[in-house]
């Protein structure tokens, strides 16, 4: 078990800084998810922890020790690569065993460990196969077993589920959460998928262009996004954003916070529009409501609203978010919010 600390870390490729002066503390024993759009530097961050793409400047500490000069194999970390990086010439058993052999674990114990891990991840009958004879899901398990067998104090995973089909992905999500519970070690999990982040994380670290946008629990991130980026990245469909006033303040509400009706609603915010599109998802329906200014997404349990019909969208005051001209969240306890709420009421369309 170990915590991970980044202190003033900068990472450059050919003089272009991808990450600049980053400070970050990843708590011991937590399931931390790094999430953000593709190319934002998640993999780069993970590789700095592993030591396979060391920082340009600054310090990385694992369990309080500066590991800048420690080789990847000596850091007590294991990593599941996005493409799994399984050794193609070795059998499943040899793949899992390789790290143990290098660490001079005695043969008897190696055998025992490999068989028990094989059992855990469901590879028992496949230990003597070559990776080329395995399915995507099985390869993913080999990568997982190879990491687990070393009993690392930090578990790094780079989009480990992105190559699996939707059903297997959901199943593996649950298995990884259980694995984390069982092992109790520090997990750092990278994904670009906000659903994955929300469903698995103890702590989400949301990144954009190499900068941490927000670090909090999934609930906090959902209910109190720190800025517009967080508001629009987390949640599906993303939060609706509308201009509020001349000072650049913007108002936001989540598609699932809004109510739909054919009659005018007495919610705090009430917008009149026309249904432009309608997506039936089964348990719920997603509507796009178009006003003369912009479009809003609304998620509703009711599927009775037809396309091209005029409707009212209502949002209660406590579900409204406000963002300043700089994109930052305006705290609901701040004195200005009362004023913005009044302005929002003014948005009622006749």
């Amino acid at each position: 078990m170990a915590s991970i600390v980044f202190e003033q870390v900068t990472k450059s490729f050919d003089r272009t800084a991808i990450i600049r002066d980053l400070d970050l503390t990843i708590e011991d024993g937590k399931f931390t998810v790094l999430v953000g759009p593709s190319g934002c530097g998640k993999t780069t961050l993970l590789r700095m922890i592993a030591g396979i793409g060391p920082q340009t400047s600054g310090r990385v500490l694992i369990d309080g020790k500066d590991v800048s000069r420690v080789a990847p194999g000596q850091r007590g970390v294991a990593m599941v690569f996005q493409n799994y990086a399984i050794y193609p010439t070795m059998s499943v058993r040899e793949n899992i065993e390789f790290g143990l052999k290098n660490n001079k674990v005695p043969k008897e114990e190696r055998k025992r460990l490999v068989e028990s891990i094989g059992e855990t991840v469901g590879l028992s009958g496949l230990l003597d196969r070559k990776p080329s004879a395995l399915s995507g899901g099985q390869r993913q398990r080999v990568a997982l077993a190879r990491a687990m067998v070393k009993k690392p104090s930090v578990f790094l995973m780079d989009e480990p589920l992105s190559n699996l089909d939707a059903k297997l992905r959901v199943q593996m999500r649950v298995e990884l959460i259980e694995l984390h519970k069982k092992l109790g070690t520090t997990f750092v999990y990278v994904t670009h998928d906000q659903t994955e982040a929300m469903s698995m994380a103890d702590t989400i670290v949301l990144m954009n262009e190499g900068v941490i946008q927000q670090m909090s629990s999934p609930a906090e991130m959902y209910h109190r996004p720190a800025n517009r980026f967080a508001a629009e990245f987390i949640g599906l469909p993303p939060m609706n954003i509308a201009e509020l006033g001349p000072d650049g303040v913007q108002l936001g509400f989540r598609p699932e916070s809004a109510a739909l009706s054919e009659e005018p609603l007495d919610h705090h915010l009430c917008i009149r529009g026309v249904i432009a599109t309608r997506e039936m998802l089964g348990s719920e329906t997603i509507y796009q409501v178009r006003t003369d200014k912009q479009a809003y997404m609304v998620r509703s349990a009711e599927d009775r609203f037809e396309v091209d019909r005029p409707v009212y969208v209502g949002v209660p005051a406590e579900k409204l978010h406000f963002f300043g001209a700089d994109g930052r969240r305006i705290d609901e306890r701040s004195s200005d919010v009362r004023w913005y709420l009044e302005a929002a009421r003014g948005l009622v369309y006749a």
Binding site: A78, A85, T89
Partner: protein
């Protein structure tokens, strides 16, 4: 209807007929003709005087010490060239695997001998290896190292020929191996680094198995090529001194006009030896190969 079905059956054969005609004309027929010739005492001046003599050519061949000498020379030449080229080109490939401008330049330099005719190269080396005025001995001498008689002594002649052949081929094979090394995904090495693999393990457990198909290709191609060596010997030594560099193909060449049947028999033996060796390679090594 019947016609249609017949056409369906024939079509594949008609389609490959042109290619097959080429193969029959240029591969199968010459080989069969070679075998036929080997059973004749052939008269180049007067075809009518040629006569069938059965296994006589072969009997003569296997009773000839010069033939055995050439065979042994060829084997040593092949072993030397294949081993040296493979080891050196692998080392060079490992050195050049990182793609940078400097490495590309070095690679181009090493490759250059391959695009020059072996005859020119042989002549050049012949001149450099001249014992009393040549460049090599001059350099050795000025470095205070012992000089060599190179091509002029039966002790060093074969080694000298081997050196030239290795020098000629190394760039090409290094190029193949560099490409093989560069096709290994870097994440495999990163995973191995996290698995705490040492340099030795990394090379023998990861790198070598992953480039085994290319190494095998180089081994087979070079063995076949080396067994048929001729031009270097012809230009540099004429098989001498004292038969020290006479190889099988050079032996065949010596009898080209005096006894073509005998030459053909030697050619058939060479073909069988190379065929058997290639078969052996596949039997012994193909299971150790890893194809992606």
């Amino acid at each position: 209807m019947r016609n249609h079905a017949l056409w369906e059956k024939l079509r594949p054969y008609v389609m490959i007929a042109p290619a097959m005609a080429g193969i029959v004309l240029f591969v199968v027929y010459p080989v069969l003709y070679l075998v036929r010739l080997s059973f004749y005492k052939y008269n180049l001046m007067n075809k009518a005087k040629s006569k069938f003599i059965g296994w006589d050519n072969y009997r003569k061949l296997f009773g000839n010490d010069d033939f055995y000498k050439s065979l042994v020379n060829t084997v040593w030449y092949t072993v030397g060239v294949v081993a040296l080229t493979m080891i050196l080109s692998l080392l060079i490939a490992l050195w050049l695997r990182r793609s940078s401008r400097w490495n590309a330049l070095v690679q181009a330099g090493i490759f250059t001998p391959h695009i020059v005719s072996i005859v020119s190269i042989a002549l050049l080396w012949l001149w450099m290896m001249e014992p009393s005025h040549g460049l090599l001995n001059y350099v050795l001498q000025s470095l205070g190292l012992p000089t060599s008689t190179w091509l002029q002594s039966s002790k060093t002649a074969l080694v000298s020929v081997i050196i030239v052949s290795v020098w000629h081929g190394i760039g090409y094979y290094a190029l193949i191996l560099v490409a093989a090394l560069q096709s290994i995904p870097p994440s495999i090495y990163e995973a191995a680094a996290l698995d705490n693999a040492g340099r030795f393990k990394l090379f023998f457990r990861i790198t070598l198995p992953l480039i085994s198909p290319q190494l095998f290709f180089v081994l087979v191609i070079m063995t076949i090529g080396s067994f048929k060596v001729f031009d270097t010997v012809q230009v540099m030594t004429d098989g001498g001194p004292n038969q020290a560099t006479s190889t099988i193909v050079y032996y065949i060449f010596r009898y080209r006009s005096t006894n073509i049947g005998y030459s053909s028999a030697t050619g058939v033996v060479l073909m069988l030896v190379v065929g058997a060796l290639t078969f052996l390679y596949f039997r012994l090594l193909s299971r150790k190969l890893h194809y992606q």
